[in-house]
Amino acid sequence: MLNDLPADDPVQTVVASANSILNESVYKHHAKEALHSTKSVQISLLTAGVGAFKAFEAAGVNPDFVAGHSVGAFSAAVAAGVIDYQDALKAVLFRGELMERAYPHGYGMGVVLGMDENMLKTIVRKHYEETNPVFISNKNAPDQITLSGALPGIQKILDAARQNGARCASFLKVSTPSHCPLLSSVSEELSEMLRDIPFYRPLIPYAGNRGARLLFDPVDIRQDLAESVSSAVQWHDASTVLYENGTRLFVEMPPGNVLSRLATKAFPETRVFSVAENGFDDCVFIAKRERSKS
């Protein structure tokens, strides 16, 4: 994921600052074997997101809004000028450790495609057992919803969803039941930790994970960053709020193109690019051209 970035100065500055906080090379966390660890994945995601953003900024591309999914929200907060990258990295390290520790075994996430939230809710309600708790978590699209909780519980819901007409229902390759109340202790500790970090007024509006509102107040953004890990990410709504506010070009920071796929489907009339798929230079070119039109 760090490989998609241009080898520019701004990216090197971010990498160097990561290395100094980590006391080791950030690329170690980026090695294939390290990417099994939640912590390493999150560090790499943050570094890739912020590194790319700084490169865009240096190339003269400045967005009107930012949003990030899950740990991506920390990158978004850095991009909006709400927290410094070093502080974000410390927070993400801490968050990753807490998440790894919370449920070492037997928990995870699943995803259901082709079924709306109402129906999935009914299924979860019907099959819920306290011994194997499951929750509806992220709403990535109206028909792409994740589940978080105990593996046997998730298995049950996935089976029931398939029987009730879901197009696809499967486990995700993660070992933490993120974005559900099982992680509320992580949110509490993270909230304490974030209190010691300076938060600034956002330079551009930041779309929150939990309420899918545009947030303008640093206190609200701090709360969103702390509580997101134990709350459902309302990604479809957050991106819809950006769209309704006039966004007509979405550019996804590396790695990957998951979010751009979702945006392409949700907003067929917009332009959607990702660094991973279109390359950095093309993204810069398109962003500048769209800006000159408006």
């Binding site: 082709g114 079924m115 709306d116 109206p142 028909d143 197009r167 899918a212 709504d237 309704e244 006039g246």
Partner: protein
């Protein structure tokens, strides 16, 4: 006695509204040049001409937007302007809701908010906005003259002269209605125009109704909302269109009608010159339309199907075509289209035989709704046209054809047709046990569930399975059977006993394609009179000039 004398002595002023208006006009004396507000001083002028707590009607249709004035209003200071009560037929632009986010306005009455349906729901939940009511278009226009009389009207036109006369070109839409409501109750009327001209091509709104004009820094926003690219029409939509032409338009001799915005109805328009022609229906059906200038109607017009079209608004790219076909369209002396949303909605309500539209959800009684949970989109105009108006008295063959009893006072009925596929994209059933609208009512505290078209108004439902002739059913039980029979494998359709299908067919309560002599295999795109926007342009002799986003060549 004493109190009575006091009452007589305290002379009441009968000109408080006019006096207040004069004060406002005085307050901008140094700022304006006659009736013209300088472009760069519009924000300042609005802060003086509008007062906190005012009812402000801001022109925002689903097509034409007073975008310069809405942008300026959003730039006013909430210290000077606050607690505004916005009245808007359509909330579409980001700044429409910024007004509430910034505290300039706090209450809204509207008809449609599709493009801002999430933000408005969020703001309602967050208490940033107080909801008046959600209306249909005609209903909202009506209230402008009763209990929602505006203090200020902010509208858009193409051109003005220095006397304030306005030229709206083809996009008159609702401007005259909004202006009338304010102008004749001593409200302030401000019109943004694209240019100031010495002479206007024609006068759409007289200058004596207008207080101020301002030249916008860029032309008002205009959405080509009714352009449907035939490339996206599917074989299923063509099958449904064939069923509608055969099983409804021909059967009931439908001569006047409105079509919605969907691909379903675009398919019907494009089948008239081909499939319709082959059935010998030209001159018998579809002669008079209450309809925007749909590009997909061009082949039918060119083949001589269409006698008249009255329009709600214009359509980007259709200007030259319309001007060159003035026998068909309403046009002014200058040659361009004259549209009028209020009158066309009324025509669509009272004067046409049939309304046909589509929906996202329908329950087993035929009630339909386009509500998605967590969104507040409103109604627009569909309910105005999609119901049987009790005030109708004139008869036409189609209207009389809906009579289902021999009662001596029996009367006809408007045809209200819903065309849907049994499943939406994303595997969502259209036919459901209970509408999301019922939950939306609970979620948002609305007084009633936001139903778009009520089941008792619906006369026909068309799905890929067949047609349900609901107007023929004489009991709720029969009605539900007919709905379920065409509901496919949705939760509603699965409850249907397939043995009943045969008897429903015999009784004429439902018709399958084969009952209408339609072979499913004949429903092919090759039947479309135009299969692309480019072919529509050819039909129009090059007069239709599609916007860039519809040009693929």
């Amino acid at each position: 006695m004493e109190t009575m004398e006091q009452a007589v002595n305290q002379k009441r002023s009968w000109t408080t509204r006019l006096d207040a208006k004069k004060k406002r006009i005085d307050s901008v004396k140094g700022l304006v040049n006659g009736r013209v507000i300088p472009t760069d001083r519009i924000v300042e002028a609005l802060e003086k001409l509008i007062r906190p707590g005012d009812r402000v009607v801001l022109e925002g249709n689903n097509q034409k937007q007073a975008s310069f004035l809405s942008g300026a209003l959003a730039q006013t200071s909430p210290k000077n302007l606050f607690d505004l009560h916005m009245i808007m037929s359509s909330l579409s632009r980001p700044e429409h809701l910024d007004l509430f986010e910034r505290g300039i306005a706090n209450k809204v009455d509207f008809a449609y908010a599709g493009p801002q349906s999430l933000r408005i729901a969020q703001m309602l939940e967050d208490g940033k906005l107080t909801m008046g009511e959600i209306h249909t278009y005609v209903e909202l226009y009506g209230r402008l003259f009763v209990d929602l009389i505006p203090s200020v009207a902010l509208v858009a036109a193409d051109k003005a002269d220095r006397q304030g006369n306005l030229y709206t070109g083809p996009n008159t839409e609702e401007t005259p209605t909004l202006v009338e409501a304010a102008a004749f109750r001593d409200g302030i009327v401000i019109a943004q125009v694209n240019e100031l001209a010495d002479e206007l091509p024609r006068v759409d709104i007289p200058g004596s109704w207008i207080d101020y004009i301002v030249v916008a820094d860029e032309p008002y926003e205009l959405e080509p909302l009714f352009t449907r690219d035939p490339r996206h029409i599917t074989d299923i939509q063509i099958l449904q269109a064939m069923m509608v032409i055969r099983g409804i338009y021909e059967k009931h001799e439908v001569q006047s009608l409105n079509h919605g915005i969907g691909y379903n109805t675009a398919a019907i328009e494009l089948l008239l010159p081909t499939y319709g022609e082959s059935l010998g229906l030209k001159g018998k059906i579809c002669k008079h339309w209450a309809l925007n200038p749909h590009p997909t109607l061009i082949p039918a017009i060119e083949s001589g199907w269409v006698d008249s079209v009255h329009c709600f608004g214009g359509e980007v790219g259709m200007e030259k075509y319309v001007a060159a076909r003035r026998d068909v369209f309403f046009t002014g002396r200058d040659g361009s289209l004259r549209s009028n949303r209020t009158l066309c909605q009324m025509a669509g309500q009272y004067a046409v035989d049939l309304f046909i539209g589509s929906t996202l959800q329908m329950d087993r009684d035929g009630n339909s709704s386009t509500v998605t949970r967590g969104r507040l989109a409103g109604y627009g105009g569909a309910p105005n046209m999609g119901h049987n108006p009790g005030g109708r008295r004139h008869s036409t063959p189609a209207w009389l054809n809906m009579m289902s009893s021999n009662d001596s006072l029996a009367r006809g009925k408007k045809l209200v047709v819903q065309v849907v596929e049994t499943f939406q994209a994303g595997n969502k059933p259209v036919f459901v046990e209970s509408l999301d609208a019922v939950d939306a009512k609970k979620d948002t505290g609305l007084a009633t569930a936001p139903v778009m078209i009520y089941g008792d108004d619906v006369t026909h439902i068309v799905t890929e399975e067949g047609i349900a002739y609901l107007y023929k059913t004489d009991s709720m039980e029969k009605r539900r059977e007919a709905v379920a029979a065409v509901a496919g494998v949705t939760p509603v359709g699965l409850g249907h006993d397939s043995k009943k299908t045969e008897s429903l067919r015999r009784e004429g309560m439902i018709a399958l394609p084969e009952d209408l002599n339609i072979r499913r295999t004949d429903a092919k795109r090759s039947l479309l009179a135009a299969k692309s926007v480019e072919e529509i342009v050819q039909w129009s002799d090059g007069l239709y000039e599609p916007p860039a986003k519809f040009r693929s060549w």
